[in-house]
């Protein structure tokens, strides 16, 4: 590497930079720490909406994430299901963005069930507690069908009752009595793509909407939240971390004066302390700070290098 210090700083070999990044995102994973955090209003509202569901409520869930956004979406999915299981909700799952999404959702629920089995807790059973309605190509047309003719859209879809051949999803306890989208007191969208926009276009005003989106989607989702088109959302890794802390501490719980997480807008919402609440968000969020710090240092070094190189040219 020839040239003055400025030129050297600007031309660090890329493999070295990648190696430093890999170290910065690996080493902190072995040393779990906690980052001070105040959950944002949108996640508090998201949590409050889930916790306000009456026991046994039927929830429609559009699960549009796969392995490519596992780092963010899986954490959100797991936290949401922990809350839904606690509320004894019945969940109808469908996907419209990726053919792999139904299988990914199914695997994530199976993983949760294995953990519950190990702790001797009742499992969240397919058919009785949740149904996998499957994949619908063309997200926009699919959600239009669901909004206008739910029976027609889900008609003919089958899922597996325990130890039986597949049966019509409308025979499952999850969808019994459901004829239109308004019969669901909440529609959840866990997505890494634009399918959340389609939900706003077609379903907003018909039933409350709440989203769990990836970090890159936060700015556009914030617009829907501020205009009250959605009741709340959990955005990116920060949203997952918020949700895990809300599960642990609740809001204004046990009361506003002593509660760890406070809100003027919301009443008392209970938390349910459990070591298992600390999941992907708690594990990844501190590490993200190391990666961001590295990026800031590299930007500063690059700028210092440019300044020094320019000064060297002038002299």
């Amino acid at each position: 590497m020839k040239g003055n210090l400025g030129e050297k700083l600007q031309s660090l070999p890329k493999p070295i930079l990648y190696l430093i990044l890999i170290l910065a995102t690996s080493i902190p994973l072995f040393f779990p720490t906690e980052v001070p955090n105040e959950p944002v209003e949108s996640t508090k509202d998201f949590y409050a909406t889930l916790m306000a569901l009456p026991e046994g409520s039927k929830v429609l869930l559009m699960s549009d994430w796969t392995g490519s956004t596992r780092g963010e979406s899986k954490g959100a999915f797991r936290s949401i299901f922990k809350i839904l299981i606690r509320r004894k909700a019945k969940v109808a799952i469908y996907s419209a963005a990726d053919p792999q999404a139904p299988r990914v959702a199914q695997d994530a629920i199976n993983e949760l069930n294995m953990e519950r089995k190990r702790k001797n807790l009742p499992t969240f059973d397919r058919w009785n507690d949740w149904v996998n309605i499957g994949y619908f190509p063309n997200a926009e047309a699919a959600i239009n069908g669901i909004a206008n003719d739910l029976k027609g859209a889900f008609g003919g879809r089958k899922d597996f009752p325990p130890n039986s051949p597949p049966r019509d999803v409308f025979q499952s306890p999850v969808l019994q009595g459901v004829t239109k989208v308004e019969d669901f007191p909440l529609m959840l969208v866990i997505t890494a793509s634009k399918t959340s926009n389609f939900a706003v276009e077609r379903v907003s005003g018909r039933t409350p909407l709440a989203f769990a989106v990836t970090g890159v989607m936060v700015p556009e989702t914030q617009v829907f939240y501020q205009s009250k088109q959605i009741v709340g959302y959990c955005g990116g890794l920060k949203g997952v971390y918020d949700l895990e802390q809300l599960m642990e501490s609740g809001v204004n719980f046990p009361d506003k004066a002593t509660g760890k997480i406070k809100s003027d807008k919301l009443g008392t919402i209970e938390g349910f302390p459990d070591p298992d609440n600390k999941g992907q968000g708690t594990r990844y969020y501190p590490t993200l700070h190391y990666a961001l710090a590295l990026m800031i240092i590299m930007i500063i070094l690059g700028n210092v290098g440019m300044f020094l190189a320019k000064r060297g040219d002038k002299s």
Partner: protein, 249 residues
């Protein structure tokens, strides 16, 4: 044989293979890229049949036998008419007959266009409504919104019905941002008026701040995905998979 460990090991090798492109383009990377594309294409084809075409078209066309809890359904062979209609789309590859493909495409476009008025209003109506915010305070009792700790419901609703100075400032900033950004687009022809020019420039800077926020959250997301891969390799595979396997736990 520990199949779970084998499965995760395959995932780790694929992850390293795909990241190896960071060093340079190589055959190891190419191999896993093609494996990934092949798996995704194969999965999609099967899913399209099992999860969509069979339930939404084939079963409705040929009918279904009686099963536990459900009665038999008669086939409706009119669904067969969808085959030539769908095939018309493939005429897009013919130079001579590609006009045929415009028929199904035109119908789809027509159906889509017809819905856009409602879609537009559902998307932007509430946003326009939410943009109309009061920019003058209605009370000077406090400059910021007072704490609602220990208030009765009546007192709480009274606090919530007021616009405090801090809220008014927020709303003013919001309104200025909306107006200046809109003016940046509305007056994107030669602007001579100095005041409008200033507002346009402010709109451009505010847009840049917005793009910065979007870029920031995108970077955070990409880092999170990398952290997840590192967790997969070091924790799920090495710490929780390989080490216990070697030590026989």
């Amino acid at each position: 044989m520990n199949y779970d460990l084998l499965r995760i090991t395959a995932g780790v090798i694929a992850t390293i293979g795909l990241y190896s492109v960071l060093w340079k383009e190589n055959k190891f990377y190419r191999f896993f890229e093609h494996v990934f594309l092949g798996l995704a294409a194969g999965w999609t084809m099967v899913a399209l049949w099992t999860e969509t075409l069979k339930a939404n078209w084939w079963d409705k066309m040929v009918g279904t036998p009686a099963e536990t809890g459900s009665v038999a359904t008669n086939g409706m062979y009119a669904y067969a008419l969808l085959i030539p209609f769908g095939l018309m789309g493939y005429f897009v590859f013919s130079k001579k007959h590609n006009w045929i493909s415009r028929i199904p495409i035109g119908i789809i476009l027509g159906l889509w266009s017809g819905q856009q008025i409602q879609v537009w209003w559902n998307t932007y109506g509430p946003q326009i409504d939410a943009t109309l915010k009061p920019i003058l305070p209605t009370t000077w009792d406090s400059l910021i919104v007072p704490s609602t700790n220990g208030l009765t419901p009546e007192q709480l609703s009274q606090v919530q019905s007021q616009i405090y100075f801090s809220q008014a400032v927020n709303n003013f900033l919001f309104t200025i941002t909306v107006v200046s950004v809109l003016s940046y687009f509305l007056f994107s022809f030669e602007v001579k008026n100095k005041a409008v020019k200033g507002i346009n420039t402010m709109g451009r800077y505010l847009l840049m701040i917005g793009f910065g926020a979007i870029f920031g959250s995108t970077v955070m997301m990409r880092f999170t995905l990398l952290i997840d891969r590192m967790h997969f390799i070091w924790i799920e595979w090495l710490r929780d998979g390989v080490f216990p396997f070697i030590s026989g736990r």
